[in-house]
């Protein structure tokens, strides 16, 4: 018997079967790979933190071990600088915490690290670029003011323009800048090359990436201000 491939029944059965097969296939692939993917995401986060600590990842064979070596603690605090937990900050979802309306409710992780015998503090940052979210980490010296290193990344900024915030060239500008003047938080301004800010340290923005550069400036301000009490302690 030859099937009538244009009958209604055949069409409905065919569609159902295809969808069910594809659904099982995708579920299987996702299930089989999810452990590896989560592991990759965690490893990537560790690499980002190491990158803010100016660790040369290209020369680092085992980033996870390097992370364990440098990061001594990852406490969670709140905006009043009260310690909520001594460890476990790594697991905090910064995006979800930033979405909370009240600053007091946010659980704020930071990372206390030892590098070359000095204590460094790393703080997560999250903000908005031109096309989507941008995020990063900022490492401060133990004076809680001088920037030791930064790391920025983005989801979909324009390659060659806004996406340049993820390059070492842009990030290298931040080292040595101070986020405070006379003990008051002034953050870091991201300004068009040639301009300067009387009231704060500044770095040069990306030419052609103005909106993303502004996003970085706002992200630094929003991210660091949450830790104000802790930084002034």
């Amino acid at each position: 018997m030859k099937l009538n491939t244009n009958s209604n029944v055949y069409t409905i059965v065919y569609a159902s079967v295809i969808v069910i097969i594809v659904a099982f296939l995708l579920a299987f692939v996702s299930g089989a790979l999810s452990d590896r993917q989560t592991e990759n995401v965690r490893l990537d986060k560790k690499k980002q933190i190491l990158s803010a600590l100016n660790v040369d990842l290209a020369a680092c064979a085992d980033p996870a071990a390097k992370y364990d070596e440098l990061v001594k603690a990852d406490p969670i605090i709140n905006s009043e600088a009260v310690v909520l937990a001594e460890n476990g900050g790594f697991e905090v979802d910064v995006k979800a915490e930033n979405a909370k309306d009240s600053l007091q409710d946010r659980r704020l992780p930071y990372y206390r690290c030892e590098k070359d015998g000095e204590t460094k503090y790393v703080f997560p940052l999250r903000g908005a670029g031109l096309w989507g979210p941008i995020w990063g980490y900022i490492a401060l010296n133990d004076d809680m003011s001088t920037v030791y290193g930064v790391y920025f990344s983005h989801e979909g900024e324009t390659p060659g323009l806004g996406a340049e915030i993820a390059t070492p060239k842009f990030q290298a500008q931040f080292a040595g800048k101070s986020i405070k003047r006379d003990g008051v938080l002034t953050y870091i301004s991201v300004l068009k090359a040639g301009q300067s800010d009387e009231n704060a340290d500044h770095v040069d923005a990306i030419s052609g990436g103005t909106m993303t550069s502004r996003g970085v400036e706002a992200m630094l301000r929003d991210g660091i201000s949450q830790y104000e009490k802790f930084l002034n302690k």
Binding site: Y14, A15, V22, L26, R36, Q37, D44, S153, G156, G160
Partner: protein, 207 residues
């Protein structure tokens, strides 16, 4: 039919030049604008599209006699979407850095007109082996245009190739400046226009 008959060869070779999906059929332009500001994502995108178009061509070709005509586009779309999702999951698991670099573009392969175009125009009416060759040919044809465009955009726009500085510092000191306009999507369109111009000029001569 033998494996490398004239017909199979044609299925593979014509999309590379005389019937190029981008420069002749004007398909897949949107992604050609999006990923060609730098050479590296353009390369990875070209490879990914080639894999997906070849595999989906084969699958649809195998199914072609069973697919109900009225829902054929939906079936094609489901196959493409499933393949792209799997490719993206595999990239995330085994080549995380590349998947981060491509971000949303991998998902956008689904909307690449070349895929639907080949499935509808070729795989629905040809055998699996020819469809595979046709898919590979079209994928490579697409990748070739992407790479040419990305080559010029990255070279003239940022003075780099694959992220390495290729224009010597002395040029900049002598007053040379990168052309920022090259990094904007419209310049990709202008470059593709130039490629089409050159190609048509060559073809007109041959005729």
């Amino acid at each position: 039919m033998s494996l490398f008959s004239k017909q199979s060869k044609e299925a593979f070779l014509t999309p590379l030049f005389t019937n190029n999906p981008v420069s002749v059929q004007i398909l897949g332009i949107c992604s050609a604008l999006a990923v060609t500001a730098q050479l590296e994502p353009a390369l990875v995108m070209g490879i990914s599209v080639t894999i997906v178009v070849a595999l989906s061509n084969v699958i649809i070709s195998l199914l072609r006699n069973t697919i109900p005509m009225r829902i054929r586009i939906i079936v094609q779309l489901v196959v493409v979407a499933a393949l792209v999702t799997i490719v993206s999951q595999i990239l995330k698991a085994f080549a995380y850095d590349v998947s981060v670099m491509l971000s949303v573009y991998v998902g956008l392969i689904i909307t690449n007109c070349i895929l639907m175009g080949r499935l509808e125009a070729f795989a629905m009416s040809h055998g699996p082996w020819e469809s595979l060759l046709d898919g590979l040919g079209n994928g490579f044809g697409y990748a070739a245009i992407l790479v040419i465009v990305a080559f010029f955009r990255e070279l003239l726009g940022s003075g780099k190739l694959l992220g390495f500085e290729v224009i010597p510092q002395s040029f900049y000191e002598a007053g040379y400046m990168n052309c920022g306009l090259m990094l904007m999507p419209p310049m990709a369109l202008v470059l593709i226009g130039c490629i089409i111009w050159v190609q048509r000029a060559i073809e007109a001569k041959n005729e």
